[in-house]
Subunit: 656 residues, 2 copies
């Protein structure tokens, strides 16, 4: 078939595509990622591009497309390649930031704000984080990796001892490991006779022993010193991070992170499920995207560590939310999204790397952290493992992971209750007019003069402003309220004597930065609609916490520790978050940032069968509270849509 | 590459082959089977063909080839296709008889001897045999096939009961089956969400539940009546027989049998192991041959039963000797042959049909009967299961299966001892100048006039004589002795006044049929060397029996039943066999022919998980006696090289 070329600027990357393909897909083929929170539906407007040369065809007319066209912009997802070759410029605001490139370029040197540095270290450089804090990746568990070499010296066969090779091996292995349920695949059996005779019945067995079952993965002659590596992956909806672990030493060798390439099918899990279910080949595409993402990370790690061989990576552990786990394994995710929100599985089978196309040793077993429910996934179980909340001696603790959903776990030892509230992606910058992730150029702090309403701000990396990140939004909300620009219900005081307060296209808005001072040549504003979104987001999280406490009959005061997980958590300003009523009014000392606890838990489980067993136990004993059953959550939610709350006695220390 | 054509007569089949290929291989490609007991080594002389047109190149010179050349014959295995197209005639004596074709052609009607009829019925028509004898294929075990549909009606998912689909299924299945260890493959999990909702949480599960572990093989929506078939296969070194079973009814639907196509690599297991180990791609060829053989049988069965679908055959059970099991699974058989004779495995993993290329449902589990040692295989275990010798209330019994090896089992209930003696293939007609299998034209009975030494004989199917089959050889040996043509040590009395007694090329021989009366235009003789071979064969079997008895301190008198297994066994003349000292001198009533007990046991195990469990138990409790350790067997063997035996008190009722 005839193809057309599409050249993407500023990167200058050219791809050949067939006519009829849209520019969002074409960019994907060029490995260039364009924002597409709505999954290419033409409704979010974030995928705007400038067609510099050539003519594309509009998929259909829409109000949004028409408005953008006035500004010389086209929706990438709605523009189809037709007869002509195209040159397409991707404005900064539409491009996905290249986190990793950023880390490497700025080398965490000058000009990086503390928040960004910590965020990046946390997400991309867990190794260093562990080092800095003298954290042991085993976190107290014994080194007993999910895959290990066992060396056997068996009695040689003779006419007097003429047991078959397999029995000889199994008996010897049982003595060594106490495991009775041992499985050896046919492929290894086929050549076993030769293998065990090369060095006269001395062999090394690569074993994965889990839950009383031992799977033999490889058999080699003799007792050589074999390298042995594993990969632990946190599969986030947005970001995927991989850790290369030396299983013999129990150490983190290196780490790498990148965007989840599924982003081109939508920002949140729902868009991805819709794409997987509704599009032709959708499931295949969404599944393959995450596999490709992980393979890229593995290649990154191998390039960094030139002496390590792909085939020496013998096992993999993944932790991700329930949807990510389904998509990673290629399991139909459809019913996660539909009431009554049922995942196909919470406990996942162990599969071989080659079944998924993961580029490590083809026989490497791939483990997935168990989930609890459709919206409380393996990442939360992994985080809970990391906090040790499920251990017998644990005190009452709360774990919060705020992302698109706010997931939380409350409990101590034997009892753990958990829920998920659809906070929406506001704190991740999505659904907010100028929201963005915590990257170069994001506003993360601001001051508003209570008399002149003039704004001063600080951006990440001191870049010219591109938008507002999560911290900035929380800070902004607190400042808007403190200066009386909004009332406790989030309503804008439109009569204020400042040009920054104005009525925009969709209602009242407050200008934080004038276009001339930005990188994007547009006024950066917070609108009343944005504030409502933020209130709903913070209200949902707080209502979730209250509901969990109500269910078990506890008060805030019973909570000894609040673990704040996730990339977002780590640069959250706790007093701000309490001030707007996102987090409970507890002493700041009770809050602990634990960073990417999902990744840390995955490392622990890969390095220690005992930790992995604990993870199963934790997942099994978590009681999931479905917030849509009954009125409790809804009542709490409605009471939480104020700053900080309808019931001010819950926030005795807040004065806004 | 250029090819030449080779046309095989009398079939008239033409194949294109590359120059350099030998005629034995070329015939294999044409699906024409030529005898090749030495496996194409050029030493057995059984593959003689006549090159009618064109010129072939001799692989190398040999005494045998030169002698045959004088008669216008060429060794197929040593004749290489060179520049010319060839026309090659395969004399009857070199062609493998087409058992099955024979059965169908003669339709078991007129002119078929009783022995042949029973043999054929037994080997090819087990169904009818079972019917005739009112035998239940379950043989007293409950119908509980290794693969069955379980119908589940699960509570529908709701916000109140929001367990994941997998847990819901597993819990429901546990209730139904009491099985706690349930495995569901990823491929089924991927679409489980849809499957269970098609008929609102009513599903049918295809389950294989063995040894406390349940493997889910398929999941279908609703409670339809699904057809369900299994295949039980007796993988003999020479003959392979398959039974199509209806697993819902517990009945045999049909049966088919054919030669093991591995025959072109040699008649016995040793030649096949040598071929597999020494030839390039040898293992692949030998493995593929048995897979092809079985696939052909399955196609035969499906053609016979037009309404049955390949994909409705959901499980397969095989029983074969240890070498056959290794070759079937593609496991290196090398160490079976080398002292100390160690198989890679006695208990084999369950594999999926698609892993082996067996043409039934690709996910069908394939079971192999466990073996006991290198030369006591799954066929013997299966036969032992059939005899019920391992059951608590069993009396002391002896099971004998005489083929190339003589395998035997002695025991009652808790104890079972077993051994294998290399009887050699003499009773199967191999290694005997005019030996042949029990087919059309084989001499099976004879009378020798004690004064004139004239011979009258009966052949199978009254055909013109082609050779002598096993029964004929045993009968012949008894008659040669009774008439004083040979002495008790098997020495020929060369002075006897008859032209039938003469000195042939390799020593004394006795002419049974003059060339003019044969189908092969050669005198059919028994030579002194043949007699020595027969004595060694019968001596080995008898010495094996004696050794087993010695090991446990029993006498012949303790044996309540002797089970005689195998196609050979069924038309064995017991008094003859006792007279030559092959079988112990026990009342004829104690002997029971059990036919192809390996196949019958395989059917039982496939139809009943209880029988399969018993088979594991039997294999586990059999004590293998290695005859090459110590002198006991050798001493017994030497004493047995007389007719009937050195120690005549062992044969009080024999007067030869
Ligand atoms: S001599 Fe040709 S196969 Fe034996
Ligand atoms: Mg996460
Ligand atoms: Mg047999």
């Amino acid at each position: 078939m005839d193809t057309r070329s599409v050249t993407f600027l500023p990167a200058g990357v050219k791809v050949a595509v067939e006519p009829g393909i849209d520019l969002l897909t074409a960019a994907g083929k060029a490995n260039i990622e364009i924002k597409a929170p709505c999954g290419g539906d033409g409704t979010c407007g974030k995928c705007a591009v400038i067609i510099k040369s050539g003519k594309a065809k509009a998929r259909r007319e829409s109000y949004l497309a028409t408005r953008l066209a006035e500004k010389g912009l086209n929706l990438a997802c709605q523009s189809l390649v037709e007869d002509e070759d195209l040159v397409v410029e991707i404005p900064k605001i539409s491009a996905m930031g290249k986190h990793q490139v950023l880390v490497e370029n700025v080398a965490l040197g000058e000009g990086v704000s503390d928040a960004l540095r910590e965020y990046l270290l946390n997400v991309w450089q867990l190794k260093d984080l562990f080092k800095q804090k003298h954290e042991d990746p085993l976190h107290g568990y014994p080194l007993n990796p999910l895959c290990r070499w066992v060396q056997l010296t068996m009695p040689a066969a003779s006419l007097q001892d003429n047991r078959d090779d397999l029995s000889r091996l199994v008996l010897s292995l049982r003595k060594e490991t106490k495991c009775t349920d041992i499985n050896i695949p046919l492929s290894l059996l086929r050549k076993l006779g030769d293998t065990i005779r090369v060095e006269n019945f001395k062999i090394s067995i690569l074993l994965s022993e889990v839950g009383g079952k031992a799977e033999v993965i490889a058999i080699e002659p003799g007792h050589r010193h074999q390298p042995l590596y594993g990969i632990a992956v946190d599969i986030g909806t947005t970001t995927v991070v991989a850790y290369l672990l030396d299983l013999r030493k129990g150490t983190i060798v290196d780490t790498a992170g990148t965007h989840n390439r599924q982003a081109r099918f939508g920002d949140d899990v729902i868009s991805r499920i819709v794409y997987a279910v509704d599009e032709p080949d959708g499931m295949k595409d969404v599944h393959q995207s995450i596999i490709d993402t992980i393979n890229t990370l593995i290649q990154d790690l191998l390039v960094k560590q030139r002496k390590i061989n792909e085939a020496d990576i013998r096992v993999m552990m993944t932790a991700g939310n329930t949807t990510m786990a389904h998509l990673f394994l290629g399991i139909n995710p459809q019913y996660i999204r539909l009431e009554p929100y049922i995942p196909t599985a919470n406990f996942f089978p162990v599969v071989k790397a080659q079944e998924l196309g993961i580029r490590v040793h083809p026989d490497a077993p791939v483990f997935c952290f168990p989930a609890v429910a459709s919206y409380v996934g393996g990442d939360i179980v992994s985080g809970t493992l990391f906090t040790a909340m499920g251990k017998a001696d644990a005190q009452v603790s709360l774990l919060i992971d705020i992302g698109t959903n706010g997931e939380m776990v409350l409990g101590a030892g034997d009892w753990l209750v958990t829920c998920s509230c659809s906070a929406g992606p506001a704190f991740e910058g999505s659904g907010i007019t100028f929201g963005m992730r915590a990257m170069h150029g994001a506003i993360e702090h601001m001051q508003i003069n209570p008399e002149t309403y003039e704004v001063s701000y600080a951006t990440i990396n001191n870049g010219r402003p591109l938008g507002i990140c999560g911290t900035g939004l929380i800070d902004g909300l607190a400042k808007l309220r403190r200066t009386g620009i909004i009332d406790r219900a989030g309503k804008f005081q439109t009569h204020l004597p400042t040009p920054r307060m104005r009525i925009g296209e969709v209602g009242p808005e407050f200008v934080l930065v004038w276009a001339a001072d930005t990188e994007i040549d547009r006024d950066i504003v917070i609108s009343e609609a944005d504030v409502k979104n933020l209130l709903r987001a913070k209200g949902a999280v707080f209502a979730g916490i209250r509901t969990l406490l109500n269910v078990v009959g506890f008060e805030f005061g019973s909570i000894e520790t609040v673990y704040v997980a996730g990339g977002f958590g780590n640069y959250l300003n706790i007093p701000d978050a309490i001030a707007i009523g996102l987090l409970p009014d507890l002493p700041v000392e009770k809050y602990k940032f634990i960073g990417n606890s999902s990744a840390k838990g995955a490392c622990m489980a890969l390095l220690s069968a005992e930790a992995w067993a604990e993870a199963q136990d934790v997942a099994g004993k978590m009681t999931y509270i479905e917030l849509s059953v009954g009125n409790m959550f809804m009542d709490e939610f409605i009471s939480s849509l104020f700053i900080p709350h309808t019931d001010l006695t819950l926030f005795p220390n807040v004065d806004l």
